[in-house]
Symmetry: C2
Subunit: 272 residues, 2 copies
């Protein structure tokens, strides 16, 4: 069974569009793009297209590579205080002379649509309701729920411990009462941990999931996306091999990618 | 091999005492005690005794059970603004009419010696340096380090997911590159997860660890402490059974308990 992120993302975006129509004010997402990284430009464009689709106003603030950290922080502060702006997102990566953490932490938690500020991360970790959940793990939970996959009591293996995917994913699965194992580059016997799991979420960017699954109903979610040596888009999972033994599997592309952007738009439609 | 928390706690307290002597100002810890819960009174007294021992000024603010949430928040706000006060701790539990989370969140992160505020929890979760790490898991890490127990790459099982122990413990073990499995009341096959682990940390308050360990060098840390039906202090681990197959085991009492208070004093000696 394919976890069709493309199809669900359309449904989610439509729900967000209807919600936005009913709001008594239009949400306004500001995306800050520093420098001219090609991939970043594509991501930012995709976000703008999605925002337009659901009726969210979006502004892209393009800043030169040479901007100082202080000036960037000042821009964020201005946006924090701008009542017309409801969401702020800084496209990563940032130039090396700028401290990514300082910049992330400068965003007001109530406008932090990525859910990356310490206050939002901390609330999630404590079990309180953050203003925003990080988009990718939130999108994955939506995808699991769409297919009625039981999370409570499931043995979930999360591979990769980034602040953007792995760590918040673990928190969100734990909140839904899964037993969560956090794996990474130092983990021993990774294959054994993967094959015995009920749910595997891989967010590494390398072909790490390539074994026969023990359980017929096991669920594989592939967050990795990169080009292989033939230039073809691929993920962390050896799809042909793993799909034969797993119950559910998300494809790359068409799985987690579209869900991330739909989930981000869900966040951007929230007005605090 | 016994993980002697009593002995290490004395060493840590002595180190803190020497550090405090060298500070150019005396740290001042304020402990807020609401109501007259007998156990809470004992805990608070123990904290004061430890603070005196290491040369930290301590004040206990005793407030009646009947205090309103608003008044309690006001008291905390006053302490946040009091430059003489370097650490604030609210003894839990609080009366039912007071929202524990609101109270915790009201403490300034720079005085939050328990490390429970969203900002400190969030920083830990993101991999940044919080002002304070929660005392119990920090004390456990000190104990593991004292016995040169390898954490990197170890399969660690954390049982219990409280904000005070289980969840920050998982984060701290992950930070040290362990593969961490978070278990709780919904976990399946708990015994199997325990027996195959390298490190087991149990913080439940029930006798949940009672199996033969597979690995000779496995490490068992017992955070649970309660009285059994005979009125004897006991923990989560069936000590007689488990100690035969494990490499290292912490006793109850004399293991994690004294380390928690030493670790708290380490926190209380920090001045921001």
């Amino acid at each position: 069974m394919i976890l069709d992120g493309k199809a669900l993302s359309e449904k989610v975006l439509e729900r967000v569009r209807i919600k936005v129509q009913k709001l008594n004010r239009q949400p306004h997402l500001v995306v800050i793009l520093v420098g001219d990284d090609t991939s970043s430009k594509i991501y930012v464009k995709n976000k703008r297209v999605a925002a337009e689709k659901v009726g969210i106003k979006s502004t892209i603030v393009e800043l030169p590579d040479s901007i100082t950290e202080q000036d960037l922080l000042k821009r964020i502060d201005d946006l924090n205080n701008d009542k017309d702006v409801t969401g702020i997102l800084v496209q990563l990566p940032l130039p090396k002379h700028i401290d990514k953490n300082k910049v992330t932490m400068a965003i007001s938690p109530k406008k932090d649509v990525d859910g990356f500020t310490p206050e939002n991360v901390g609330k999630l970790a404590i079990g309180l309701e953050p203003y925003f959940y990080p988009a990718t793990p939130q999108g994955i939970i939506m995808l699991l729920d769409e297919y009625n996959i039981p999370i409570e009591g499931a043995d979930a293996v999360v591979i990769g411990r980034s602040n953007i995917v792995g760590k918040p994913m673990a928190q969100m699965l734990l909140k839904r009462n899964a037993t969560v194992t956090m794996c990474h580059s130092y983990s021993k016997d990774l294959e054994c941990k993967i094959k015995t799991a009920d749910i595997v979420i891989s967010a590494v960017g390398k072909k790490v999931v390539r074994c026969k699954m023990d359980k017929k109903n096991s669920v594989i979610v592939d967050v990795g996306i990169y080009r292989d040596s033939n230039g073809r888009l691929t993920g962390d999972v050896d799809f042909d091999l793993v799909s034969k033994s797993a119950g559910y599997i998300s494809p790359v592309p068409g799985g987690v990618g579209p869900m991330t952007i739909a989930s981000l738009m869900y966040n951007a439609s929230k007005v605090y």
